[in-house]
């Protein structure tokens, strides 16, 4: 059989929520990562816990882009679609490349499934010719799995649940893959149930073997390992990286980590991950609500811990008042917002970047604070680590923005070692001969951090305006103005402590700058690559530090004829750019609860010409 070598492939596993497509996708992802491909993933699951089987609402998908080249996004269109039922096919066929490969499980196309997916009998896509532009491969994975497991001793229902392993084995065959990583996974997962363990391994192998024997397939593929920088890698999801980054900041600052949080999609996994890290001294506190969550973190911070709280949009709104307190107290605090589509409850499982302005301005009074945003799953690690550093070294609450897309997406991560991570120097105030002033400041306008338990430094702080130096309550007009200016200047001064912004791509002779922030990084990057290949003079810059922005931001922006700001919102960063620099930046937005595609951005730039 012929084997075609491909640079990169986009594959989407789609089926009913009960079909185990997330697991299948994750296994293929890990396998590809271990194999050495560069990857990017995009899991896309229904809002419902268990949406009715077979319906459109119940479709769960997992898209993976893997390659021997650099991979920036999960891919706009798929090379391969695995569709376990008619609903999955109906929803996803539009994202297939021309001549793409469709692998379907025909057992998901019976009349019951057709009805559930609201497809009329005469419009069965497998037979109505509508898929003639694709390469359609139809198998009865259900029957094949049952055959394989008929002696297994499992119930019919359990056997059905192994079907995804058959499919996975088959796709492994298709890409010449080794089964080891998945076999170890199964072995660990079902350590306590030998029946299931054996059944799953058997099915996986049967799927692979079926590939060897089936005659419907005429081609296999190979995607070579990517030329990644030398080092050790692992596959990393955004929320996972965020949790790791916090633990790392705790270790490198020598402070114990306190994480106060109230569950909310898509931020809950950070709480889940951290609650496993008790052997790092991590204290997780599932609060009664978001207000208690942030307040508990402020309390911990007052006590000298690294106080962190995490949530999504609705929770950030609720925390506003307390964050304003932290601004006034000048205590370190990291507030994580894993953004989702709003307003209000919005679309909790869908991604968006629409909390930038509330992060900037969503507090009463003059309450400025630093805002940072991560650009990719693994970048969550570095960015949240940096957020902790800034919070601790500048005695300020910091908002760290992630979003549903990178929170659940994954990519290979060249992880650092403890030794290579910078130390976060934190010094608590100590008793000296001179009188102690809690609001005495250093050259960065950073005040003293004195923690309970330190004899001689007893003091009181609070949310009423305080006298400079002493922290005592003060209603003096001049003092208030001074304090407002100091708090603003303190945040502004952080620009001295962060790197300048540099072009990610292109140079200053280009015409157009695409300026992004947060998770649109990958899509912009891939679009810029394509545009440049197509002869457009387009460069890319990306903001991790949104407040304050790097010192040279204006200077860089002014080099370009046009600045385009793509955002998954209705235009938010663009407001900051326009206001701060009076640059007529152009907003390009997408507000669909979906990440940008490369195509989206390429088209937008081309339309400008």
């Amino acid at each position: 059989m012929k084997t075609e070598i491909k640079d990169h492939v986009v594959i989407k596993f789609a089926g009913d929520s009960g079909d185990g497509m997330q697991l299948t996708g994750n296994q293929f992802t890990n396998n590809s990562a271990l194999f050495g491909n560069d990857i990017a993933t995009f899991p896309d699951f229904p809002a419902e816990i268990r949406a009715p089987a077979g319906t459109l609402a119940g479709v769960s998908g997992f898209q993976l882009h893997f390659g021997s080249t650099e991979i920036d996004t999960p891919g706009d269109f798929c090379d391969v679609l695995v569709a376990m039922n008619v609903a999955a096919l109906k929803l996803n066929s539009r994202y297939l490349k021309p001549n793409g490969l469709i692998i379907v499980d025909v057992s998901g196309f019976d009349s019951k499934n057709m009805k559930l997916a609201k497809v009329a009998a005469e419009q069965n896509p497998l037979t109505d010719g509508s898929l003639s532009n694709y390469s359609l491969k139809i198998f009865d994975f259900s029957k094949l799995t049952h055959e394989c497991l008929k002696e297994s001793g499992l119930t019919g229902k359990s056997i059905d649940r192994s079907k995804n392993m058959f499919v996975l084995g088959f796709v492994y065959w298709l890409y010449h893959r080794d089964l080891t990583s998945t076999i170890s996974y199964i072995t660990e997962r079902f350590a306590k149930d030998e029946l299931l363990l054996n059944a799953n391994i058997a099915t996986l192998k049967a799927g692979y073997a079926f590939g060897e024997t089936t005659e419907s397939m005429t081609e296999r593929y190979e995607v070579a390992p990517a030329k990644l920088a030398q080092g050790q890698y692992r596959n990393m999801m955004g929320n996972q990286a965020t949790a790791l980054g916090l633990v790392a900041a705790s270790v490198k600052s020598g402070l114990s980590l306190f994480y106060g949080s109230y569950p909310i999609t898509p931020a809950s996994d950070i709480l889940h991950d951290l609650s496993k890290q008790k052997h790092f001294g991590v204290k997780t506190f599932q609060a009664e609500d978001e207000i208690a969550a942030v307040c508990s973190a402020i309390g911990a911070s007052f006590g000298g811990a690294l106080g962190v709280t995490g949530t999504s949009g609705p929770g950030l709104a609720l925390k506003s008042e307390a964050i304003s307190l932290a601004v006034s107290l000048e205590l370190p605090l990291v507030v994580i917002d894993v953004q989702r589509a709003g307003p209000s409850t919005g679309m909790p499982t869908k991604t968006e970047q629409s909390d930038l302005l509330i992060a900037m301005y969503g507090r009463h009074g003059e309450a400025p604070l630093p805002v940072l945003a991560a650009k990719s799953p693994s970048d969550c690690f570095d960015t949240v680590f940096e957020a902790c550093r800034i919070a601790l070294q500048h005695m300020t609450p910091v908002i760290f923005l992630s979003d549903g897309y990178i929170a659940n997406g994954s990519e290979p991560w060249q992880f650092p070692s403890e030794e290579n991570l910078p130390t976060i120097n934190v010094k608590f105030a100590e008793k000296k001969e001179t009188p102690f002033y809690p609001y005495q400041r250093d050259e960065n306008l950073v005040r003293n951090w004195a923690i309970p338990g330190t004899a001689g430094l007893e003091h009181r702080i609070g949310g009423i305006e305080k006298e400079d130096l002493t922290g005592n309550i003060s209603y003096d007009p001049a003092n208030h103005e001074k304090m407002v200016k100091i708090r603003a200047a303190k945040v502004k001064k952080i620009e001295e402590d962060i790197p300048e912004i540099a072009l990610e791509f292109g140079d200053e002779n280009d015409d157009i700058l695409l300026l992004g922030w947060g998770s649109s990084y990958g899509a912009i990057r891939s679009a810029v690559k394509q545009l440049r290949a197509d002869g457009f003079k387009v460069a890319q810059a990306h903001l991790r530090y949104i407040n304050p922005m790097p010192k040279n931001t204006e200077q860089l922006l002014r080099k370009f004829k046009k600045v385009i700001v793509p955002e998954k919102n209705n235009g938010q960063l663009v407001k900051l750019i326009r206001e701060q620099f009076l640059i007529d930046a152009i907003s390009y937005t997408k507000v669909q609860g979906l990440p940008f595609t490369q195509y989206d951005i390429v088209q937008q730039v081309k339309n400008l010409h």
Binding site: A297, A300, G304, L325, T454, G462, N472
Partner: protein, 338 residues
Amino acid sequence: MIDTMSYTAKDLETDQDVRWCPSCGDFAILKQVQTVIPKFKIPRENIVFISGIGCSSRFPYYMNTYGMHSIHGRGAAIATGLKVARPELSVWMVTGDGDSLSIGGNHFIHLLRRNPDINVLLFNNQIYGLTKGQYSPTSELHKVTKSTPFGSVDHPFNPLALALGADATFIARTMDKEAKHLQQMIERSHVHKGTSMLEIYQNCNIFNDNAFDELSARNTRKAKAIFVEHGQPLIFGQEDELGIKLDGHKPMVVSLKDVSTDDLWVHDENDLMKAQILVRFFAYKPGMPELPRVFGVLYQEERSTYEQDVTQQLAEVIGAKGKGKLNDLLKGQEFWTV
């Protein structure tokens, strides 16, 4: 360290002017707190007072310990975070009836169920003092205030009943005017391991003057108030002539002329069922005899504290897994080398 443990009431004063209205009940409470705390021999630097917002919540500014005057209603959540992060500290929370039972109600009930070792001093003046006299969730029905010129129609909370409903492990009541008793109750709050909920009736002489007069006035106090002590029978009355007896599950007032002290209800701090009855002396429900308001420790229960359990769980996990190594965590279980 020793010297930071021997300090006097005077040492607990700060250089800040105390900004309550002259004659406010808050002064008396401040004084008793400053008087009694040195007796506990806690290093002064280990004491933290956390408050929300309200007249009462200015308290931390007047205590020469660590302190935070936070935001309205959130003291409980801040104190919980602090106590979990630093279990060795002696954490006190000062709050008002509005601060803890209105805006802070949720944190208040969750504090009580979780039971960290925090001492709550709830200054109940049955009014919003700081915002100049609106009714509070403990104000009596029909109260005429700035926001209820025709009388309030809100049924008030019974704070100790609410606390008990939230599974508090310690509930007690005292009064600004009862210096000795106040001291004792502060001490009991300190000694109790777990959240100590001490309700302190406090006179707001500006917006709700004399609210508790009959409970402290010479000629009524012994008939209207009863001070209970563990193991002691429930006796009250201007001449100590009355007692309380349990008729099945129903409390009744009896004359000591008719009933021997031996047959009276003997206070048992640890009896939840009895405590549930005691807190209801408050309500003067129709069909119930008129009963005196109860002062003292109504209920106390041993339950491990939240921070103990958190700390112990950490220790157990470390015991089982060993202390976490960052490099192992960074590496994870599935990694590869390029």
